[in-house]
Amino acid sequence: MKKQILKSFLVLIGGAFILQSCQQEDTTPPAISSVSVNEIMGLDFIVQPGDSLAIRFTITDDHPLSQMKASIHDAADGHGHNGEVDTAAVAPNVGLWVDTRILALSGTTVTKTLYYVVPDTIHGVWHWELQAVDESGNSAEEVVVEFDVQ
C-alpha cells in the first residue's frame, strides 16, 4: 500500500517537473520609450487651442511588432461623487477632440512621429494614449500623455 501512495504522488511530482521544463513562446513585451511632444520629453503638457503637436516615440521588442494604437480621448474617467461630477478634481471638458489611429508595425524597432493639431474650440484635459503589441500578443505598458488645454 505504501508503494501505491508513493506512486500516486510521484506521478504528480513528475507532472509538475515536466511542466516546469517545457519551453515558452515569446512572452517578452515590447517597450515604449523616448516619448516627446514637440521634442520635449514628458507626460504632462499645457497646450493652447490651435497648437501643433508632434509626438515622437520609439517602440522596441526582441520579436517582430504587430500593431500600435494611438488615441486621444477625454480624460474624464467615469468617476464622480454622490451622482455629481467632482468638478474640483476633474473639470468637465469643453468641446470635442477625438483621434484614433491603429497602425500596422513591422520589425523589432519602430520610431514614429504622429502629428496633431489641438482643435480651436476645446478646453479641458485630454489623454493621448499609446499602446503597442507584438505578433505573439505581448503588449507594452501603455503610455498616457496628459494635455491640459487652456
Binding site: Q4, S8, T27, D74, D86, S136, N138
Partner: protein
Amino acid sequence: MRLFFLVLFLGMGYCTHAQLHGIVVDASTQLPLSHAHVEVHELNAEVITDGKGYFIVEEIPVGKYHLHVLKDNYAAKLFDFMVERDSITTLRIELLPSNFQLNEIVIEDGASKVEVRRSSQAMVSLSAKELTLANGLTLSDKLKSQPGISSISTGAGMSKPQIRSYSGSRCFIQDLGMKHEAQQWGSDHGLEIDPFQIENIEWRKGAGNVMYGSDAIGGVLSIRLPEVPKDGVHGNVGSIFQSNNNTLGNSAQISVRKNKNYLKLRSTLMKYGDMQLPADSFTYLRRIYPLAEGALQNTAGRDMHEQFVFGRLLPKGKIQVSQSLYTQDAGLFVGAIGVPTVGSVQSDGDSRNVGFPNVTLRHFKSALHFSSNTKWGWFETNAGVQENRRQEFILPRREGFQPLPNYNVAHDLRLRSAQINSYLRMTSKEGTKTLVGLFAELLQHSRGGYDFLLPNYAGTQHAVYFQRNGLLQHRKKETFRTVGLRLEQGRMRDEAFRSPVYASVDSIGFYYVRANEITRNFAGWSFEIGEAVSIHEGQSLKYSLQRAWRMPNAAELFINGVHHGTFRHEQGNAELNPEVGYLFDTAYELQTEKFQLSLAGYAHYFSNYIFLRASSFYSELSDGGQVYVYSQDRVMFSGGEMKSEFQLNTRTRLEWSAQSVFSYLFLSGTASPFTPPISSSVTLQHKLFELKNKLNVLLEVQGNWAAAQNRVDRNEKSTPGYQTLDSKLKVEWKLRGLTLESNLGVNNLFNAFYYNHTSNYRRLNLPEMGRNVFIQTLIKF
C-alpha cells in the same frame, strides 16, 4: 417523465413503523458513552444516549437511513442502517477518541450522502461557527483558510472563490439545493452569497461533473440546506467590526419550530468604508498617484441579505420552501475601470459614500426542497427560480464621435433561471449506494445600458446521471469504489446586436456587428471512477479518475465588447467546442489521537481548454484596447495541498498548511492567469484560561507566507512573495442556554506592504489592506 413521478409517488405509499435501539461505546475501552448525540439524518430526529450509553428512536418508518453520531473528544461517525417492517433494529456504535475539533462535524456528500470514508474524493466541511469567526468579509475570503481555496478579489467587498486554479464558470456553487446561477464569467464579479447565512459548507476536492454537472469541472462548494431547527425558539446573532475600512456588519437569525412545522428568518446588513492601504501613493503607467491618508477612494459599500425558510416534516421526509434576496451597492476604485487621473484619486472627504463608478447587485432565489422515503429509497427534489441583476454605473465618457449618453447605466445585465434536480438514492442490503437523477435548467438573459458586452441570450441544459458507491468484497483492505456517469445536453441561442460607429458628430459611418444570431447545440458525457481504501485504522488513501465535460458559457460564445473590469476588448467565439478534461485526483489522510494529516494532489489535462487568448491586434472601438479572443488549446494543471494538526498537549495545538498550483498553457508555454502562488501558514493556538467548560480563552498566532509568483500568463504581472502575521484572542463563554463566541484580533500585525497575485487591483500596483483590527462575535440562544 410523468411515469417516473407516478411510480415514485406510488412508492411513497409504502409505510409502516418500527423502532431503533442502540448503544454507543468507546472503541478502545468498550465502555458505554453517555450524552452522545445520535441523529437519524433523513428524519432530523435527534436523541441523546443515557448514562449507560443507550438510545431509542421510536416510530421510525420502514426504510434505509444513516445516523450521525457525535460526542466531544471523539471522532464523529456515520452509520448506515435499515429498518424493516414491525421489527426492532439494534445497533452497536463504536467511537474513536480524538482531540480534534473538526471531527465534530460530520462530513458527507450533500446529495449522495456518501460519507467521506467511502468517497473517492477528499471532502472538507466548515460549520457556521467556523465561517462566522473566520477572517474576511466575503464567503470567498472566509474560505481562504483552507489550503487549495483562494479568492479573486476586487477590493474588500467583492470576491469570488477560486478552487486550485479554477474560478467562475468552472466552480460549482450550490445554495438552497440549487446551482447558484449568476454572472460569474467576469473575473471582477463577486459572489452574491451572504457568509452569515451558511450553516455548513462542503468542499469536494476535485471535479464533481457527474453529480453536479458541467460547471463542476474545477470543484464544488456545496452549501447545505438550512437545517431543521430544534423545538422551540432559537436564534443567533453574528457581528463583525473591522478597523481598516470601518466595517460594521450584523446578522440575526431566529428559528421557531412547533412539532412538524418550522420557520427560519435571517437578516444581514453590512456596511464598509474605503480601504486603507499601507502606502501613501502608488505608481501606475509611469505616474505616481497619491493616496490621501492611505485610503483607496470609492471602495466603500453596503451588503444586505434577507432569507426566509419555511419547512414541514412529513411522515417520511420533509418539504422546505426558501426565499432569499441579496443586494450589494459597492463603489469601484476609478482605476479599476480605466486610467485614473490624479484628481480622481483625491479624497472627497467622505470615506463611507459610494460614488461613481459603482456596481449594484441584486440576487433573488426562491427554492423548493422535497424529500421522501419511498419503497425504493430516498427521493429528493430541489427546484427553484433565480434572478441575478448586475448594474454598473459609470459616468459616460465621450468615445469617438458618439453622442454622450444622458444616463449613467453602462451595463444592466439580468439573468433569469429556473432549474429542477431530482434524484432517487437507494441503499442495498450490502450497503451499496446507488443514485439516479435528472436535471433540467432554463436560462434567459437580457441586457441594457449604454455600453455593450453580452447580447440577449437564452439557454437550456438537461442531464441524466447515475452514481454507485459500494464495498469491494474481494479486497483485503476495506475499499469502496465509486463509479458514475452523466449524459448532458444543452443549447445556447443569442440575439443579433449591432452598434453604430459615428464618422462625425452627426453621421453614422457604419454599424459594428457585435453579435450575430446563432444557435449552438451541445451534447456530451462525464464519467468518474475512484476508490477509497482504508489502509489501517485512521489511515486512508483515495484516488479518482474522471472524464469531465463542460459546455461553453454565454460569455465564451457571444461576448464582444470592452470589459472595463479587465481592461480589454473581449471577443467570444461561437465556434467553440465543449471543454473536455481528464482529471486525476488523489488524497491521503492520517488521523491519530494527537496528530492529523491530509495530503491531496492532482494532475488535470484538458484537450481543449477554453481561455481568453491575447491577440496581436487592437479593437476598432475607440475605448477598446487589445483584443482577447476566446480560444481553445491543451492545458495542464497540477499541484497539491497539505494540512496537518498536532495536539502538542491539552492546551496547545499547532497547525501547518501549504498549497501549490502549477498551470501550463501548451499554446503559449505560460501559466493560466490568476494562478495562486505557493503558500503556507502556521498557526499556534494556546488555551490561556478554562473554567469548568463554561469559559475558554485561547490565543492564536498565525504566520502566513507566499512565494513570489513568476509563472504568469501573457501580459500578467508577476508578484513578489510576502510574509504577514495575524493574531487573535478567542473567547468562548457558555451561560445556561446562551453561548457567546468572540474573536478579537489583528490581521497584518506589522502593516506589511504586499501584493495579492489574485486581486484585480494587482495590475494597478495597489497593495493589499494594511493593519486591521477586528472583532467578531457569535451569540447563540
